[in-house]
Amino acid sequence: MLFQIETVTNSGVQWAWLAPTLSASAFCAIVVLGRFLPKQGAFLSLLAIMAGFGVFWYVLSEFLSSGGGIFSVDWFTVGESTFSWGIIVDELSVVMLGLVTFVALMVQMYSLGYMKNQEGSFGWYFAVHSLFAAAMLTLVLADNFLLMYIAWELVGACSYLLIGFWYHRRSAAEAAKKAFITTRIGDVGLLIGILLLFNETGTFDITTIFHIAEQGGIGSGTLTAAVLLIFLGAMGKSAQFPLHVWLPDAMEGPTPVSALIHAATMVVAGVFLVARVFPLFVMSDTAMLVVALIGLITALITAAMALVMTDLKRVLAYSTISHLGFMMLALGSFGFTAAIFHLVAHAFAKALLFLGAGSIAHGTGDKRDIREMGGLWKRMPVTSITFGIGLLALGGIPPLSGFFSKDEILVAVLDGRGPLFFVLTLVAALMSALYMARLLFLVVLGNLKTENEHAHESPWVMTVPLIALAVLALGAGLLAPGLIPGYDGFGNWLFFEEPEAYHINFLVMVISVVLSIGGFAIGWALYSRKLLSADRIRERFSGLHRVLVNKYYLDDLYQWVINRVVLAFARFMALFDRIVVNDVGVNGTGRSVFLSAWRLRYLETGKVYNYALVMVVGVVAVALIWWLALPYA
């Protein structure tokens, strides 16, 4: 796929760069003219993203008809190397272009309703939204590491600004700071990786680097190091273990923000990066193993935590991390198509769930704790149904999209990594089905609580996106098998090296169906019928429960490290600088010169004969020096 793009530059596809630029110009327009436009220019950003979506359809049709291409323009030259900005249009970027524009459109439409009566400046919210869309689209289309890194950082900055949108809340400010610092730590790895590659190949251009790597131009040691460092960047952005701590706190931001950034687009940037640089990853087995391992660990530990969390958005956040773990695991086990397909399916479903959560909060007067919800389907039918579809999809219930993508991943893991990984993935899949069921029974079904009596359905501007996303959550699965003539399966349209025809591994499918339905059954027993009481389980495994609730004490560990080690070291350095370098080094020398001056001063006794004596001694000394120095002169 990537390697085949040599010469085909279909000019038609070239207009893809229009999507990001439109959103970027929308951002500038809102910032500059925002105050004077109605609704502070929100519609501008909506228009831009709609146009972007249109550009996607146009590019898709051009791409299907006559293939992709690489187009770049020079940014600036230094010495002998020139840095350029450019776009690459291939299957991966077209899929991502479509995903990002669609989800962004849905979220921005939804935000029109949701953000209306919230405090904080309406225009600024939409401005940063369109800047985020522009940055994400550039990231997706970038043809060289430099432009990708620029977009990567801008995406991080926008998430910082959006998480901290309600800046007057201390928790939001801290969450924004935490998010940006943690992703920043990841970006350090990414930048070092890119520079290592630049050092070896002398260019940032991705395709050239692949060719050089292919001909063995890069030493295997440096290649593994560079690839692992790039993966460190991906871990930061996609909140993989151990850098996952920032995503649950990022829920402080407005819910549509979480839907767009922390579910569908930004967090998958890490997965996209690994996919874009997959040819390099494949060359080093250690890297692939690391990716798979990290993916698996993340999936397992976060799925467990999702089981015990009580805040609705926190549960969804942990579920996102868990599913990102699945995607990384798929990539780690050479399941390129499976990973991307799950990425798309998960994006629609998770965006739906987040928007649903937002509409629930909107309807029930900002309720966030799932224990206070229940039986909402009576008061909020559309939201509940769409929310339910999302839950079922991600739970892996057939024929929804989640089932197909999870099945693909299981197949890939089985082929790529062997039985042990496969079993652990099944455990993770079971837990994911379980917590989806928990949400279904505690939030949507069950009996309506008294205080939720007055819950009202959200306005149409919020429910339409929900419905659209629900349709996609339902239908996305059908993409996998080749149903339409002339299109035989997602596998052999988007693939790595050779197309994988859609094949059904019967055994895996049966196991995955059994697990999902089993999961929902357990959920039903636990939460709906109370056959097994959730509380008793909680007592028996109280130790484990406490660990899970406290997020394995990772947050406290990080906070302890920062306070005790980093800040303490910083204060010590500040003190060291003031005491040693400044007071001793600088003032010390100054003072010693001054003291010597005071001592010299007292030679001047004021007595005439002393002065005369000094003169005589001076004459004698001069004569002696001269006398001794004479023979050498």
Binding site: V78, Y167, H168, I192, M573, G585, V586
Partner: protein
């Protein structure tokens, strides 16, 4: 037109100097007149710098707008002015920072006239350094830029009391003055040595560039230049004057000082150190790059431990100057161009930051991070500018900090990958303390004590907007700056490569 060309550099130095002397004789009472006329003069000078920036043809490269004046032939000294690819961005930087500095110092009431006299002398000195092609006059203006600092900081500065230790402004002023002159002692000795060793009895840079000095002469005297100019540029062991000096200085002086004077030191290293003694430069570069890396990490970590806003900005400029040293030390075109662009971008950024801290200090009369909280509600515009300045300093792409630091990293990675990683980690540490500062001072609930705080005035807002505009323009489209710096750095690198 070319007659104007030949006099524009002379005007650049003469106008601030003459205005400084003239202002001394104007009556003291009418403050508003003094301020308006000074702003007008500053605008004219800014126009001149813009003209120089546009008139410089980077495709030709080399020295342009050259003008010679006979001065003292028995000592071989001629007032020869000229600019090349490296000095033009610096001239523009000085013009911009000087103009915004004058606007920011609008609220100085106490002896405003003397303040502007000394301020314009300082500006004349700085312009002189960037345009003079004669070692004598380079040093003449170098010292002239340092001279007014004592009074500017001592009289109009602000002392700060940290409980456990005191930093009176006199101490800061005296320390800064003595430290910088101590640095210039080394430079003076080295300059005279170059004159004597040159044997041509002339101080002109162009003539001395053709002289090839002996091997160990260069090895002995290059460190003198490196450390002498390094002191002014905040090289690691000699940096302790910069935080104290900037904390004590009034806003516009610390803007001009951190923004431009520290670049004077770096400019000195490249214009005289590396240009005249390339062999010495090559021998001493490993030392400089290590010191540069220490600068970055040391500055960033110390900034994290500070409680005073101005100290944080002071230490952050020490850390950012570390990138400049690392860039010079790579001796390859990308690293050096990155270093020069970093000088320009960091100059604008620090000036903006000091202006912002000045605005906050003038409203709250307090700079302790522990006390300030949630100011965005009251001073939204200042907060927005501070976020932009903060993001530039942590190297967010789209702003000038990223482009410069990226090139320095590329340059450094070519020969010293480990130190390159240290630099990038330094950038991450910068991100930590900047974001902690933003979260603590600007975001979060508003501390009731700061209810009365008013936002930046239109004038301050306008001057800060200029600086932000430059950060964005250089960040998004650095081509004009890069071509110019390229043409400036190339000849120097040929001299180094030609060894």
């Amino acid at each position: 037109m070319d007659t104007f060309d030949s006099y524009v550099l002379m005007a650049l130095v003469a106008i601030p100097f003459v205005w400084g002397v003239l202002l001394a004789f104007l009556p003291r009472e009418r403050l508003q007149h003094i301020r308006l006329t000074s702003a007008a003069v500053a605008l004219v000078v800014l126009g001149l710098t813009a003209y120089v920036f546009l008139a410089y043809d980077s495709s030709l490269g080399g020295y342009q707008l050259i003008r010679e004046f006979q001065w003292l032939d028995s000592l071989g000294v001629t007032l020869s002015l000229g600019v090349d690819g490296i000095s033009v961005p610096m001239v523009l930087l000085t013009g911009v920072v000087m103009f915004t500095g004058v606007l920011i110092s609008w609220n100085i009431e106490y002896r405003a006239k003397e303040f502007f006299v000394l301020f314009f002398l300082l500006v004349a000195g700085v312009f002189g350094v960037f345009v003079s092609l004669d070692l004598f006059f380079f040093f003449f203006f170098y010292e002239m830029a340092v001279m007014p600092m004592y009074l500017l900081i001592g009289v109009w500065g602000s002392s700060s009391d940290f409980g456990s230790f005191l930093r009176p402004k006199e101490y800061g002023a005296m320390k800064l003055m003595l430290y910088l002159v101590a640095g210039s002692v080394l430079v003076w000795v080295a300059l005279i040595a170059v004159f004597v060793e040159g044997g041509m009895g002339t101080f002109s840079l162009l003539a001395l560039e053709d002289v090839t000095f002996s091997e160990n002469f260069q090895r002995i005297f290059f460190p003198l230049f490196m450390i002498g100019f390094g002191v002014l540029a905040g090289l690691w062991p000699f940096h302790s004057w910069s935080p104290d000096g900037h904390v004590a200085a009034p806003t516009s002086v610390s803007m001009l000082h951190a923004g431009v004077l520290m670049k004077l030191g770096a400019y000195g290293i490249i214009r005289i150190g590396i240009d005249l003694l390339p062999q010495g430069a090559e021998d001493w570069m490993p030392v400089l790059i290590i010191l540069g890396a220490v600068n970055v990490i040391y500055g960033a970590v110390s900034a994290m431990g500070q409680r005073d806003l101005k100290y944080v900005v002071g230490y952050s400029s020490v850390s950012h100057m570390g990138y400049v040293f690392m860039g010079f030390a790579t001796l390859n075109s990308i690293g050096m161009s990155g270093a020069v662009l970093q000088m320009f971008s960091h100059g604008i950024m620090t000036a903006l930051m000091f202006a912002l801290v000045g605005v906050i200090y003038s409203r709250t009369h307090v700079r302790d991070i522990g006390v300030l909280e949630g100011l965005t509600k009251r001073i939204g515009l200042t907060a927005a500018f501070f976020v932009v300045a903060g993001l530039t300093s942590l190297g967010l792409p789209g702003l000038s900090g990223f482009v410069a630091e990226l090139m320095v990293f590329i340059g450094v990675f070519r020969d010293y990958p480990v130190l390159g990683m240290l630099g990038i980690i330094g950038a991450a540490i910068t991100a930590v303390y900047i974001l902690r500062l933003l979260a603590k001072v600007f975001f979060g609930p508003l501390d009731p004590r700061w209810e009365h705080v008013t936002d930046a005035t239109r004038l301050e807002g306008f001057s800060m907007a200029i600086l932000v505009a430059f950060l964005l323009v250089v960040g998004l489209y650095p081509r004009p700056w890069m071509d110019m710096i390229n043409s400036g750095v190339a000849p120097i690198l040929q001299r180094v490569a030609g060894l």
